[in-house]
């Protein structure tokens, strides 16, 4: 099975890149060669990498378009932050608490993904894009309107204001409408982030190279043929989309536990963010998990690195987007890249051609 070996090798390279990056960053931090600004970006990098991989599962493997992935992040972020905040004082083993938070975030996002998927993925056509787009905005607006508190009598929810909760003296506010959640324990860090990136990769890459993954890709390539060989189309679409939503939820958990204040704004959980994630996926190469990772890091890094250029920042950003797109998608660039690789690794490419 020459092909299987090739795939496994490819996956190992992807894991290797993550681990190597982690080691380099740790060395840079230890030797004091990394600015605090950059250090502050480390967890967001992991967040974006995870959500980009998650969206690539929907776009590249399932072949459906989701314009609401920030919405699933949002669900994961708020459900887990709510949990962590509520048990902060009674559950003090931080790593274990965070593990529970991750599971809660992933399951909540998975559940919502499943519920959104049931009606939509049965249809033929690009309905998922429209519905997820609406879903993302709705979720953001609902969360901005929720007031939630807890006291001796239990949980109180209101969509109006804090007063109408009617909390007793000993009560605590957990979600304060548009002000969101404050005081989430700072449970995530770069190491945990990298571990979660590796787990995400493990799940997605193994899924792709398994019976269910093949079923999903066969639907992407030709639904009618997939049905004709007995693939349950709706079932496998739902499986892939639910996993994708769950992983986006995990990204949300990581995000939420890196901030002391969590609120849903257009720039973190809105339409803009969903599109940005889609940009990571498209520029990194649809279906290429490694590409999504690299694009997510580069495009998050770039605006920060270019900060000193002030006015020209967005101009350069746009140019980089275009260059990346050409590099990944133009046939000429792909050929050039291949020829270049052939020069650098003559033996390997010869074998591939044979």
């Amino acid at each position: 099975m020459k092909k299987l070996r090739k795939e496994t090798k490819n996956n190992l390279i992807t894991y290797g890149i993550v681990i190597l990056t982690y080691i380099i960053v740790q060395i840079l931090v230890a030797t004091g060669n990394m600015s605090s600004l950059m250090q502050g970006l480390l967890v967001p990098f992991c967040t974006y990498v995870i959500v980009a991989i998650s969206l690539n599962l929907t776009v590249g493997v399932l072949g459906e378009l989701s314009l609401g992935h920030a919405g699933f992040m949002c669900v994961g972020a708020f459900s887990s932050a709510l949990f962590s905040l509520a048990v902060k004082d009674s559950f003090t083993v931080a790593p274990l608490r965070f593990l529970c938070a991750i599971l809660i975030g992933a399951l909540s996002a998975a559940l919502i993904g499943f519920l959104v998927g049931i009606p939509v993925l049965r249809l033929r056509g690009d309905y998922l894009a429209i519905v997820t787009l609406a879903f993302g905005e709705i979720i953001k607006n609902i969360i901005n309107a929720i007031y939630l508190g807890i006291d001796g009598n239990g949980i109180h929810i209101s969509l109006k204001d804090a007063m109408s909760l009617g909390l007793s003296e000993d009560g605590r506010m957990l979600i304060k409408g548009a002000q969101g959640i404050t005081g989430t324990p700072h449970d995530s860090n770069f190491t945990i982030g990298v571990v979660l990136v590796l787990v995400t990769l493990f799940i997605v890459l193994n899924f792709m190279d398994s019976r269910s993954g093949r079923a999903v890709m066969s639907i992407r390539d030709n639904r009618i043929a997939a049905e004709s060989v007995g693939i349950d189309v709706t079932r496998y679409k739902l499986i892939a989309f639910t996993i994708s939503a769950a992983l986006a939820g995990v990204a949300g958990v990581l995000y939420a536990h890196n901030l002391s204040t969590l609120n849903a704004q257009p720039k973190n959980f809105g339409y803009n963010m969903s599109i940005l994630i889609l940009v990571f996926v498209v520029l990194g190469g649809i279906g290429s998990m490694r590409g999504s990772m690299i694009a997510a890091v580069l495009l998050t890094l770039l605006p920060e690195v270019l900060r000193f250029m002030a006015d020209y920042r967005m101009l350069i950003y746009a140019i980089v987007l275009i260059v990346m797109m050409l590099f990944n998608w133009s046939p000429d660039a792909i050929n050039m890249r291949k020829r270049l690789m052939a020069k650098i690794f003559p033996k390997k490419s010869q074998k591939e051609e044979a």
């Binding site: 899924f207 093949r214 079923a215 030709n222 043929a225 693939i231």
Partner: protein, 252 residues
């Protein structure tokens, strides 16, 4: 008992009676041909047999089991596999994986097992790889196993489609114009392959074909469709000499 027994099958699209009163009985192990001029309703008949369309009337019984009106995937599980007139491969997947998708329902493990790489994953994948390679060998495709399906030459793509269909372990194999676009040499080779498949897998085959050499060369029985209706049915040589059939084909 016949392998396939179809009675009075009909479907209309809007006002067009694409197929009506379609009847066919195929015995186990038979190599049966379905012919007729363009637009006669042959592909539509296949789509009815495989549940792509639900018939307006009639019944389809496969090996004693009534499958009328069932979903495509249930009909596949009941034992009908097919190829398509316009090749439908999983084009961005490898040749091997195309066949492995065909093995989906006979080699099972859960999504969970696949992600966590539990022992059953390795065991089942190994069995699937072996079985898929066996099938590819039958069609001389084993050396292309790692290729993208879309990179195969046209003739090989048609063969891969047959291999994928066989992977579902059907009782009845439907081939929609398997020789379309092939040159005479490839067609000759394909005829041998089809006969081999019938003998080797003990398969019952119904095929649509315009190439009369192929039809007269391998089919034992024929049904001729014209304007959605059965024009003539019987042994190949009789049917091909029937004046009405000749008339329908030459078109007057």
């Amino acid at each position: 008992m016949a392998m396939l027994e179809v009675k009075n099958l009909a479907i209309s699209f809007g006002g067009l009676r694409a197929v009506s009163g379609f009847e066919i009985t195929i015995e186990k192990g038979q190599l049966y041909g379905l012919i007729g001029p363009n637009g006669a309703g042959k592909t539509t008949a296949f789509n009815l047999l495989t549940g792509v369309y639900k018939p307006d009337e009639g019944s389809i019984v496969l090996d004693g089991v009534n499958i009328t009106g069932k979903r495509t995937i249930d009909i596949c599980k009941a034992g009908i596999a097919r190829t398509f007139q316009n090749i439908r491969l999983f084009s961005d997947m490898s040749v091997l994986d195309n066949v492995k998708v065909g093995l989906h329902n006979s080699n099972e493990y859960s999504t969970f097992t696949g992600i966590l790489r539990l022992p059953k994953y390795f065991k089942t994948e190994k069995a699937m790889n072996e079985e898929a390679m066996e099938l590819l060998k039958v069609f001389g495709l084993e050396e292309f196993a790692a290729y993208n399906a879309s990179n195969l030459p046209y003739g090989q793509q048609r063969k891969l489609e047959i291999a994928r269909a066989l992977a579902t372990k059907p009782k009845l194999l439907l081939l929609d114009e398997p020789a379309a676009g092939m040159n005479p040499n490839e067609t000759k080779e394909l005829m041998d392959t089809i006969k081999f498949v019938r003998d080797h897998f003990d398969m019952t085959i119904l095929l649509i074909e315009h190439d009369m050499k192929l039809v007269s060369g391998i089919c034992e029985k024929l049904t001729v469709l014209n304007f959605g209706e059965v024009l003539c049915q019987g042994d190949t040589s009789e049917v091909l000499n029937n004046p009405e059939v000749i008339k329908a084909y030459l078109g007057e």
